[in-house]
């Protein structure tokens, strides 16, 4: 993106701005504005999630609940109670805004309901348990991939790099084009199946209980290597290519010519003039593709049967556990909106042009 389009894109939407400005005037902060946007996004998402099942006129959730309840048995009694409770709060006989009010109230308390398929575990329990695995592995790897990829891209985009570096570009390009889960499958075949060096699936050996012993931790790490590698190698290429593009753009700018004219040393020009400026659109890019990253990871987890959110999602879909599915979607949206908010707030730290002078 050129500088012009960059500045244009980052201008916040005027309607919201006006509302926020009033609030911000009271509380006086750019941070507050972004926070309200964050809340706004979550609200819109929740509303969409609320509306979708009710579009067809029937309520598939209720149908499912009733179905399960009719099967009989101890668990089924609990489900029966749940179905009745559900009927009380979200039954179709209630006016829609009452249902909506109840729904929002539940959300505000982070009450995501109880799982149907894994009754009586609550959705919160299930989701947050798997969240640790997802964030722990995938989160770390994503940050690593972004950092390494950006570094690689910076070097690739610099004309005065050592000659051999150029040859790294082609493999990175190929890797970037391969979707993460595919790379995962290839890695499983090569290293787990054929060579047997690493475990085939899972987060840890099945039938072991998670504990903090040294053995267990090593086991976890062993299981984490392939999924991590799949994400890492696939995503590094993406960031590298992006950063390289940004570097090329930056070098067309006038201040680069001036840097040369000042007789500055190469390293300084590279770091403080090129990279420093190319980093801005790169970070913006990160905020934009957060959604894609997360959904990509979900699929990798599926391929590796890794006990993270992706795996739970798949199971929930298979078992038509609406509450869990809904819970996962909400949590993911919260996560993305939250991360975007964080990035928005941290961005002025690296771009002095949009710092608000207090």
């Amino acid at each position: 993106m050129t500088e012009q389009t960059q500045a244009v894109e980052n201008a916040p939407s005027p309607i919201l701005s006006r509302v926020f400005r009033i609030v911000a005037l009271v509380l006086g902060n750019f941070v507050v504005r972004r926070f309200f946007f964050f809340l706004f996004v979550v609200w819109v998402a929740s509303t969409v999630i609320f509306i979708i099942p009710r579009l067809s006129g029937q309520d598939p959730v209720k149908e499912k609940l009733l179905l399960e309840a009719q099967r009989g048995g101890a668990i089924q009694q609990g489900l029966d109670a749940m179905a009745k409770n559900y009927q009380k709060r979200f039954g179709l006989d209630l006016p829609i805004w009452v249902q909506y009010k109840n729904f929002l109230a539940d959300l505000a308390r982070l009450d995501l309901g109880t799982s149907i398929a894994f009754f009586p575990r609550t959705v919160n329990e299930i989701v947050f348990e798997s969240l640790y695995w997802t964030l722990g592995l995938m989160g770390t790897v994503t940050i690593m991939a972004f950092t390494l990829g950006t570094l690689a891209g910076a070097i690739l985009g610099w004309p005065r790099k050592p000659g051999w570096v150029q040859y790294v570009f082609m493999p990175l390009l190929t890797l970037a084009a391969i979707p993460q889960y595919l790379l995962g499958m290839i890695l499983i075949y090569l290293f787990a199946f054929t060579l047997g060096w690493l475990p085939l699936f899972g987060g840890y050996e099945p039938a072991t209980l998670p504990n903090l012993s040294f053995d267990f931790i090593v086991d976890v790490l062993r299981h984490a290597i392939l999924p991590a590698a799949a994400i890492l190698f696939s995503v590094i290429g993406f960031w590298a290519i992006g950063m390289r593009g940004m570097m090329i753009n930056a070098q067309g700018e006038d201040y680069m010519i001036q840097a040369d004219a000042k007789g500055l040393k190469g390293a300084r020009i590279f770091l403080r003039y090129a990279v420093r400026n190319a980093l801005l659109p790169q970070v913006t890019g990160l905020a934009l593709v957060l959604g894609t990253i997360i959904t990509g990871q979900v699929l990798v987890e599926r391929v590796f049967s890794y006990p993270g959110i992706g795996d739970i999602l798949f199971q929930a879909i298979r078992l038509s556990d609406f509450f869990v599915i809904r819970g996962i979607v909400i949590v993911i949206i919260l996560g993305i909106a939250g991360a975007t908010f964080l990035l928005d707030v941290l961005y002025p730290l690296i771009d002095p042009r949009i710092r608000v002078r207090n």
Binding site: E9, S13, V41, L182
Partner: protein, 323 residues
């Protein structure tokens, strides 16, 4: 002695001007030169074309109905002229160059029939997103005011919500399987937000440029300016966006199908991946089951990616290396 044959003179341009000669000089040669400077474009197009060729020839020479379950013996590695021992096809001699899976599908038929289905999803989704996105972008950027505000708000919020998840919800609640066209359309409806944002930014910049101002002053209507001045200049950028959109849509469709939200009767690439994971083909050692879809996906993505890189120079003049 009369002069006989007149050999074409290097300075006699009357033969090369006009008609084919002019076409060659003004249109073909620049394109050829551009293509030669951008090998990635050629390679990318080549990859996609070979895939098309494979599918096309396959449809003619192979029995694609064998993609269905139980059309063939199960779990066969790639074989030629195999005599089928038991079952309803007992005694016949058939070839299965791609082998068969655990449910008796002929994997070559699956590849031939399924690849174009996935591509079709991608194309429909791509065109829908770019179509909607461009319209939204132009409306917002050209007319500004409240139109821009609303579009801007929708886009900002839309970007913060992963479309895939919304699609999952919708699909769950519809309760039935989606056809190829429906999936393409749905992906398009979810995917228009990103192109809308980027194209809008481009249009905003273009709007301020001199030739647009000139057009406006000379009385061309808003729509006229959009179609006659701005759109032609944006075509390179929109094309690059289209390629990106198609790739993204294919990725998303495969993802949806791999989770189990696809159409179970169709042999799309994503569904094949789904079956692979379901039946743990890797552990069963049935490499012929997961390798072809893998290669197909790699070809598709690599191809699209290279095409998009190759178009870079066309759509972003700053990257032009030569005068």
């Amino acid at each position: 002695m009369a002069q006989t044959a007149t050999t074409p003179d290097a300075t006699d341009t009357s033969e090369t001007r006009g008609g084919w000669g002019q076409f060659r000089d003004e249109r073909l040669n620049p394109v050829k030169r551009y293509a030669l400077r951008n090998p990635s474009l050629i390679v990318g197009l080549g990859l996609m074309l070979s895939l098309m060729l494979f599918v096309g020839i396959g449809h003619i020479v192979w029995d694609t109905e064998q993609f269905r379950v139980l059309s063939a013996p199960t779990r066969l590695p790639p074989v030629l002229n195999y005599e089928i021992p038991t079952g309803k096809l007992a005694g016949q001699i058939k070839s299965y160059p791609f082998g068969t899976d655990t449910q008796g599908r002929d994997l070559l038929a699956v590849a031939i029939k399924g690849t174009p289905l996935t591509l079709r999803i991608g194309l429909i989704a791509g065109f829908v997103s770019i179509g909607l996105g461009t319209v939204a972008a132009f409306l917002a950027a050209y007319y500004r005011g409240w139109v821009d505000n609303s579009v801007r708000t929708v886009v900002d919020v839309g970007l913060a919500m992963p479309g895939l998840l919304i699609l999952i919800l919708v699909r769950i609640n519809i309760g039935r399987e989606l056809s190829v066209d429906e999936m393409g359309f749905a992906l398009g409806m979810v995917g228009w937000v990103f192109p809308a944002r980027t194209i809008r930014a481009q249009v905003l910049v273009m709007r301020e440029q001199a030739y647009v101002e000139l057009s406006r002053l000379s009385g061309t209507s808003g729509l006229g300016i959009i179609f006659k001045e701005m759109l032609p200049n944006l075509i390179p950028y929109i094309t690059a966006s289209l390629v990106g959109s198609v790739a993204g849509a294919i990725l998303a469709s495969i993802g949806l199908e791999a989770i189990g939200l696809g159409s179970f009767g169709l042999p799309t690439l994503g569904m094949t991946i789904y079956w692979n994971i379901q039946f743990s083909s890797i552990i069963l050692g049935m490499w012929w089951w997961w390798l072809p879809p893998l290669i197909a996906i790699v070809i598709v993505f690599l191809g699209l990616f290279l095409i998009s890189s190759g178009l870079d120079e066309w759509s972003n003049p700053r990257l032009r290396k030569r005068v």
